[in-house]
Symmetry: C2
Subunit: 196 residues, 2 copies
């Protein structure tokens, strides 16, 4: 093996980890989510812009409102997962840049004065952070079930505002019975990587 990360961690984060479709009743605690955030917040983003925002849907009333906006096939698992998180981007992330990037105060106005530029940057960097978050959920010994099958405008209107765009909804918990389908194929190395 050419990796420094030990095999147990490789399994936990990638090899054995799977997108779960069913979950046990075991709750996901606030402490677990804080520990996940305190780990994955260090993942790199451009200009340290860290545009990801997370809404934890904990109350039964909020869960009900969310399930309505999910695609039919995603409704049962979103209704029953121990915890559901809405991952979104903050398109006004530049307001935080003076705090996040003290050595380069000019970046906020130089690169991010226009909203469409911010939206595009938040989308890409928010997706990077969403991936770190999914890895973090797995690092906590939990399974994640990321979904994009939902009414984005509906979820935005119901839970966010005009400055925040939904990226994905993630079911979180210990995997239950028949939690996943067989592993799907992946592209071979030579189909993905070329050398020049």
């Amino acid at each position: 093996m050419s990796l420094e990360l030990d095999a147990t961690a490789q399994d936990l984060l990638f090899r054995e980890a799977r997108t779960a479709n069913t979950f046990t009743d075991e709750p996901v605690t606030e402490e677990q989510i804080q520990a996940i955030y305190d780990l994955v917040k260090f993942g790199p983003t451009a200009f340290n812009q860290t545009p990801l925002r997370v809404t934890l849907v904990r109350s039964p009333e909020a869960r009900e409102r969310l399930v309505k906006h999910m695609a039919e096939g995603n409704q049962p698992k979103t209704a029953t997962a121990p915890l559901v998180a809405i991952l979104a981007t903050d398109n006004e992330f530049h307001e935080e840049l003076p705090k996040l990037l003290p050595p380069m105060p000019q970046v906020k106005d130089l690169y991010f004065s226009e909203r469409p530029v911010r939206e595009q940057s938040a989308l890409v960097n928010g997706a990077l952070q969403a991936a770190y978050f999914l890895v973090g959920v797995r690092a906590a010994g939990l399974a994640a079930g990321p979904m994009t099958g939902f009414d984005f405008a509906g979820v935005q209107k119901e839970f966010l505002d005009d400055d925040h765009t939904p990226l994905m909804v993630v079911n979180i918990g210990k995997p239950g019975e028949d939690a996943w389908f067989p592993r799907l194929p992946r592209l071979a190395y030579d189909e993905v990587v070329t050398t020049v």
Copy 2:
């Protein structure tokens, strides 16, 4: 600690890992990149679309062509890193879907018949995979230096084609002297996570 991942792995992937700006001369081998890919290829994407494509810039001639397109501040490190990778999205990823998603042959035509939809999906899911790749580089005990400061159209024309869009350029290697700036601040948990 509420995490199952051990502290050594946490440090390797997130806490101690940093974006490197200088590197030692130690080469990054083909075996290392294969091991990284064989780990992170399992990271989840929507419909298993896995749109990320990687170009390893190994020849001095290709390196020279790439450096020309980098922002001035990124040129010295891109010129000297042991390995540089161009991460890009394949906007025609849907052609691979019948192979990648055998249980749902309808997805290719149902959701991805239009190019703008594919470009947007490839951007988000390619960014997820780019994040997995950066985590994988760290899992190999290497430092990554992701950069978006380059001429995207120039890099596309020079190394890719109309169907592939650059996402980022990543310097890869063992960190050298004064490899990084002090760690930048991160947003507090309560600034990122809300509960409903």
